[in-house]
Symmetry: C2
Amino acid sequence: MIQNPDIPVSVESRPLVETVPVSLPAASLSDNTADLDRLARELGRMGFAPTRIAPGRMDEAVRKMRREGPSFRAVLGYAGTHWEILDLVSSSPEAGAVFGFALDLGSTTLVLRLIDIGRGKILNQATVANPQVKWGEDILSRIVFARNRESLSVLRSALMDACSKAMKKMLEDCAVPASSLHAVSCAGNTAMSHFFWGLDPSNICREPYIPAANSFPTVYASELGFDFLPAALLYLFPNVGSYVGGDIMAGIVAAGLNRSAQPQMLIDVGTNAEVVLGNNEWLLACAGAAGPALEGGVVERGMQAAPGAIDRVRINRQTLEPDLRILGGLKAAGICGSGLIELVAEMFSSKILTIQGKFSTEVDCPRFRQTTDGKAYALALSSQSVDGGEILVSEIDIGVFLKSKAAMYTILSIICRKVGLDFADLEDIYIAGNFGNHIDPEMAVRIGMIPDLPLDKYHGIGNSSLSGASMLLCDRGLLSEIEMIRNRITYVELNVNVELMNEFRGALFIPHTDPGLFPSVRLP
Amino acid sequence: MIQNPDIPVSVESRPLVETVPVSLPAASLSDNTADLDRLARELGRMGFAPTRIAPGRMDEAVRKMRREGPSFRAVLGYAGTHWEILDLVSSSPEAGAVFGFALDLGSTTLVLRLIDIGRGKILNQATVANPQVKWGEDILSRIVFARNRESLSVLRSALMDACSKAMKKMLEDCAVPASSLHAVSCAGNTAMSHFFWGLDPSNICREPYIPAANSFPTVYASELGFDFLPAALLYLFPNVGSYVGGDIMAGIVAAGLNRSAQPQMLIDVGTNAEVVLGNNEWLLACAGAAGPALEGGVVERGMQAAPGAIDRVRINRQTLEPDLRILGGLKAAGICGSGLIELVAEMFSSKILTIQGKFSTEVDCPRFRQTTDGKAYALALSSQSVDGGEILVSEIDIGVFLKSKAAMYTILSIICRKVGLDFADLEDIYIAGNFGNHIDPEMAVRIGMIPDLPLDKYHGIGNSSLSGASMLLCDRGLLSEIEMIRNRITYVELNVNVELMNEFRGALFIPHTDPGLFPSVRLP
């Protein structure tokens, strides 16, 4: 039982790694079973069976058994079908704390957590840039780059080195010996999982989009190259398909979609928007290119939600002047996804934008500018910006953004329609990612990006990939839940067809061509 | 089904490694499971489940799948609880032959066989000296030498290097690529198994004689250091206890004791004499120091059954001159175990020896010599010997030998009595080892070493450790049989007590103090 854990697992949950006290009956001429066989027999009696011990670790285990005498503690890692004997430690109370790493293998950033598994406590967290960016900002160019073995190996080494370096530093900072680190739980999208495991990713982006592998065996971390972790098992969350990866699988676990009696939804906005709909009986996943603009990636002055990003916008209905919140600093460098949502929502409510997403010709706004690219809105003045120039958002930018928001709404509509559900049937909607933490659902509803539902149904859950990976460390029951999710989930390929295009065209408007879909949105 | 195999397995037996043709349905948007998951699914449909693939071999497998197209063959290694996907090969008929090694890890010699697993054919066999002899002729001194990690590692490396070198040469000689070598089946006594696996052997010879491990997981051969065999699983026969090792386990399999409805017996004479008694319901094993003299190890001019050894002796009842058979050459170097048995039997029948094993004072034998060590018998004359001197067998030698034969008979008596059986209840008696191939049961009965039973009950079965290891390659069903044997076998510690000593003292006579036990032996 885990008391007051940082990781949101139930009190009944059992950790992935257990340290169990063992008292072996003394060996004698009449009970002369071999040391390791006696250990396995005793552990079996205690409910830990079958057990396995790596060939290279057997001699060490025997020597420890003989040194410790009849009473010691066995560190056992759960591997689904068996228990791996990871170490034997003294029976003294201070020995036997076990630690684990949770890794979110993001395309842009790697987030790592050092966790005290037995207490469910987060000891340290680090975020490092994914060094693979050097070979391609977006994952697609990396997939293309890694088309032969040598370049795949280059990308893999960069990733593994960055992970190793960060993990070593975290262990050092927290004075945790590498020998006490017994589990590494990792989640990433399908391409990142392929890079991590050293698998040819080239078919991920080629119809019919067949990954090399969706599921990965539990292995020793050292087998993948983490030689500094000799006694750690490594778990990589399985993928559902090329466009729904282990990160989403971890997100489902973190949100608990698979445990809910009522249908719930998980929305993860990254380069793609990945959406999962389901409950404890069925799960449906799909992915679509809704993301870039929402993450601030395509708009001219768009940027990630990082220091310098405008993430909140309020426009004075009278003066039409904006009031900005700039992340982390005084000067603005650009605008992030949630800032864009608020900007468009506020421009729409202030009648600066028409329902079609064009700048109104009927209002006289002091922030309108005429540029070579057409009309623009000066979101930040020269005095407010890092580079001393105005931060402009053009009509083209707005158009690009509206395509993303329309794509998002369309995906949500289609996936619900696939199973004959109305949005109103959804009990909860989880929005993952940095984006999910910054977004104001009221604003997103106002522009017709997400369904017009009671706002308390929306929950920003942050990095759900990291959360899911962390939870697995503290709740081994999730290993079979993940297997169940894998068997239960259906991946829906969103074919571009007439229905989808009609849906999409309606959603390009603010909030929609059918205002009945957004009854709470007061048209200006 | 294996046609006319060299290895004595039944026609229904299924090999340890299978090459199965796979035809994968084409991937599509509606069946977009990942390559390796589709492969596992298809293999599962064919009855091979669960499957596993080593992390380091996954990428290669995916590339081969993509190269070969929908039809290819999967090389699957049986690992008891799952199938290991060892390789994928072309579906052309010439591809996919699978090979294996059987290794008998003897204390003195290593015997290796290269086997075509699918056809059950022996392609090559090699015998090399165990290089560990350098650190101790007998296994006990090696155990003492290996008491720390470094010296254990020295002994282990010598063993592994010798095995590697021999295996590489055999592959080369038979033009078998190492990539087609998919299984290594090994058996050795408990100490040799410990050296092989790199386990501290020191408790094997210390009461209560607890080995480090009796059972060993199925691993990749490369995990134990055979890097030149990247796609081979390695199986090491489990031990029963410190004095009954995997070699005896393999011997039980080779003799088929565990399948017999009637009780049978297996006798293996090496440094120790190991004896197993049992049938398809129960098995009893014990070991005793009966061996050295029988193997020719203690007697002054004793030697192994190798070129130069006298292995057959007939003494002319009139002249009392011996007629010798010398192995492999014209000149004699010494006498081996079976030669000793015949010598003693013939000396007894010729009245040269008394029932107490002393040289008779009543016969006048031209071969009697008087030495500083007492009376001796000149078995070979100067003209017959390699070194130009007579080969003498002294009364002391005879005494040492009789202790061994008495120990052997005592062990056989005691183990039968443990389960309330008479010797007459035994259906068959298998005598393993080089010794078993050379021994003439009639002679052994005449001196009271083995029970006085119909001679057709005795079967010399040669190197049963190598046979059992070979059989496993061609009959995976033996893997569970071995497990059953392990669970069913009881190791009996022969405590030195009054009963045993009385038994032993009677057996020191020729053939025994109780001639009723040897009714067929005509007293001279």
